[in-house]
């Protein structure tokens, strides 16, 4: 008999197996570190020291985590509807355009708390707009969403470079970026949270978007598990034929799921654009859209899991910087290695340990 249909208790399915998957990913990462000739344990302690050792370190960790929460949610919403949105990267890039335009238009006239909600909206709308064509092609023409969203990542990158180099650039400047936003277009730092715990934020750009991210995560939870639309999306994700039989409109649900996914990805831009650099720059997304895939997989597509997974990846990014500073042999790209391994073992090889688990479980319980 196949082991796939044997039920396992929840703590094995949602606790032990994901833990084993992650463990293998990190053991192999440690092996790579050892291969280079450094001590994996030293690297681990540097990682933790870099990410949590100071108020500034924690600030950077949470700053990175903020972006990853948004992109993780973006990937997760699509996955619930059975769609694999690999285009969060491009949607976030365009979202940056949306929130930068709002900030540029308003920063001279109103304080940040007026700009912020409009910027959230702007980023969301631009992100969603970039998901529209792939969503339409999937819903109406049956083109594979993976292919089209990849295409749109590249089209988006070309478009943004064009806009920044030829249109939005400050006349007379060389750098392809917009002007610096005034105070009305910047999100304030959250230094006071750090001070409650007696730390100092220093140069870390940990800002209000973190709170927005948490609120948005709660909304996503509400949407997926507490609304009719969320139920329809999950039904479609589990079984398209059952969804069709239940009268759930395929095209409409796909469109809504993808537009929401694009909007969530777009909102990620608030954090780096308005929260950190206060201007729109080339390649500001820096792969956060792809990290969202790993974050969503690790967080089992649940908002709470995504928040924790995003913080873990924040630790990897900030701690990874620290390691590359202290151990010049290990470059920053080590993060990509770990990321790839996490995606491989927590995602593609998700069920690798399951048959073995079933055997052990059956032997132990005597069934």
């Amino acid at each position: 008999m196949s082991t796939a249909s044997v039920p396992l208790p929840r703590w094995i399915n949602y606790g032990l197996i994901p833990f084993l998957n992650l463990l293998v990913a990190f053991l192999i990462s440690g092996f790579v570190v050892w291969l280079i000739g450094e001590s994996p344990l030293d690297a681990l302690s540097l990682l933790i020291e870099g990410a949590f050792g100071s108020g500034e370190g924690i600030g950077f960790t949470l700053f990175y985590a903020t972006s990853f929460i948004f992109t993780g949610l973006s990937v997760a919403v699509a996955i619930h509807a059975g769609l694999f949105n690999i285009g969060s990267e491009g949607q976030a890039y365009l979202g940056g355009l949306g929130c930068a335009l709002v900030a540029l238009a308003l920063d001279n006239y109103v304080p940040w708390y007026v700009t912020m909600p409009i910027a959230v909206l702007g980023a969301g709308i631009f992100g969603a707009a970039w998901a529209f064509v792939p969503a339409y092609l999937q819903a109406k023409r049956g083109s594979h969403i993976v292919i089209t969203t990849i295409m749109f990542n590249y089209i988006g990158a070309a478009l943004m470079v064009y806009l920044l180099v030829h249109v939005l650039i400050v006349p007379g400047k060389m750098a392809p970026e917009t002007r610096t936003f005034l105070d009305g277009g910047q999100l304030p730092k959250l230094g006071w949270i750090m001070e409650i715990f007696g730390g100092k934020l220093g140069a870390a750009p940990f800002n209000v978007s973190f709170i927005i991210a948490l609120v948005v995560a709660w909304f996503v939870w509400l949407l997926i598990w507490r609304t009719k639309l969320g139920f329809e999306m999950r039904t479609l994700g589990v079984s398209p034929t059952a969804a069709a039989y239940a009268g759930i409109p395929y095209a409409r649900t796909v469109m809504i799921a993808m537009l929401l996914s694009g909007a969530l990805a777009g909102m990620m831009a608030l954090n780096p654009v308005m929260g950190a650099s206060a201007r729109l720059q080339v390649e500001f997304v820096g792969g956060a859209g792809f990290v969202g895939i790993a974050v969503s997989l690790m967080g089992r597509n649940h908002p709470l899991g995504i928040i924790f997974a995003a913080i873990l990846f924040g630790v990897l990014y900030q701690g990874g910087d620290w390691i590359s500073f202290e151990m010049p042999n290990i470059t920053r790209e080590m993060i990509l290695v770990i990321q790839g391994l996490v995606i491989l073992f927590a995602g593609a090889l998700e069920y690798m340990f399951r048959p073995a688990m079933v055997h052990i479980y059956q032997r132990l319980t005597g069934k």
């Binding site: 089209i155 995602g347 593609a348």
Partner: protein, 323 residues
């Protein structure tokens, strides 16, 4: 410069830029016709470029570099196969994982081994595939029209370029004229029927992804030790995805794949040529238009404006033998 000379120079760089696309898109063809989506083409190309450059540097032999490139790429294909065929995992996720892993590990190992910021040392002489001058070039050069074409486009390429153009009819022959090819295509459309005929779906798909690995090995090797003389970090620069677009654009058929790759290579060559040049009436054309055009064209195709692209029916679906 004379218009014909411009044409010749754009044409010869079209060939140069198309070769990695052709190998990679053919790799995707084998994999996807067997029902295994392969987003990891990019990673396999980059990984084999790194392996080829390292081994060619150490052994001073381009051919050993090629072998290393192929071995690396096939190994990655087997990982992809293990995840998506044996473990029935998500093929897209597995491909994404491979791309990330390779993008990181090539730089980490490159820095640790050579300390040049992710580059490998410069290669020269026997460690590279150098241009082959066909016989009679000097005599032909003076012949009008055909002469420059022969001397600059047909001659003066390296062996891998010619192999790419051999690989196209060869792939066609394997896929459409051999028993293996028939079964491979069948397993991408209806694996259940293949299984009923007593043929192992698993083994067939494994062979298909290994074919993809071998072809990607050629494209990576071409990048590192034929086109360039070293591995440079992230040197595949999205070519794996352009090849994927070409594969879709060519509707998963070998000969159209070659033409799609030549078209996308031509757009790339044109972009390089047009940089900073004025076009009458329009002015300077932004280079980004050429960069986006392959993807825009593919999306237009997918939207159904240029015929219909129907992917292999069982693509992306893991095969479950029993319930």
């Amino acid at each position: 410069m004379d218009y014909y000379d411009i044409f010749i120079s754009v044409l010869s760089s079209t060939i140069r830029l198309s070769i990695p696309l052709i190998f990679t898109a053919l790799a995707g063809l084998f994999s996807e016709r067997a029902g295994v989506f392969d987003i990891g083409l990019e990673g396999k190309m980059l990984g084999s470029a790194f392996a080829a450059a390292c081994v060619a540097y150490v052994t001073d032999s381009a051919w050993l570099g090629l072998v290393a490139g192929i071995l690396c790429s096939v190994a990655l294909s087997l990982v992809h196969g293990f995840a998506s065929i044996t473990n029935r995992g998500n093929q897209i996720i597995s491909g994404v994982a491979i791309n990330f892993f390779i993008a990181g590990i090539t730089i980490v190992l490159g820095q640790a081994w050579f300390g040049q910021g992710g580059r490998t040392p410069q290669l020269a002489g026997e460690a590279r595939f150098s241009p082959i001058i066909l016989p009679g070039v000097d005599a032909m050069r003076e012949v009008p029209v055909i002469g420059p074409l022969y001397a600059n486009v047909i001659s003066g390429n390296n062996i891998l370029t010619y192999l790419a153009f051999v690989a196209v009819p060869l792939s066609w022959w394997i896929l459409y004229r051999t028993r293996f090819g028939l079964r491979l295509r069948a397993v991408g459309e209806n694996p259940g029927a293949v299984d009923t005929a007593g043929i192992s779906v698993t083994w067939l798909r494994y062979r298909a992804v290994m074919c993809a690995g071998i072809l990607c090995g050629f494209s990576g090797t071409y990048l590192a030790i034929a086109q360039s003389a070293a591995f440079i970090k992230d040197m595949s620069a999205g070519k794996g995805y352009i090849a994927l677009a070409a594969l879709v654009f060519a509707k998963w058929k070998p000969v159209p794949v070659m033409f799609a790759c030549l078209l996308f290579g031509f757009l790339d060559a044109l972009a390089n040529f047009m940089q900073g040049k004025q076009v009458p009436l329009i002015g300077e054309v932004p280079v980004q238009i050429f960069q986006a055009l392959p993807y825009v064209l593919t999306c237009v195709l997918l939207a159904g404006f240029i015929g219909v692209a129907i992917p292999p029916k069982a693509g992306g679906v893991p095969y479950t033998k029993e319930r």
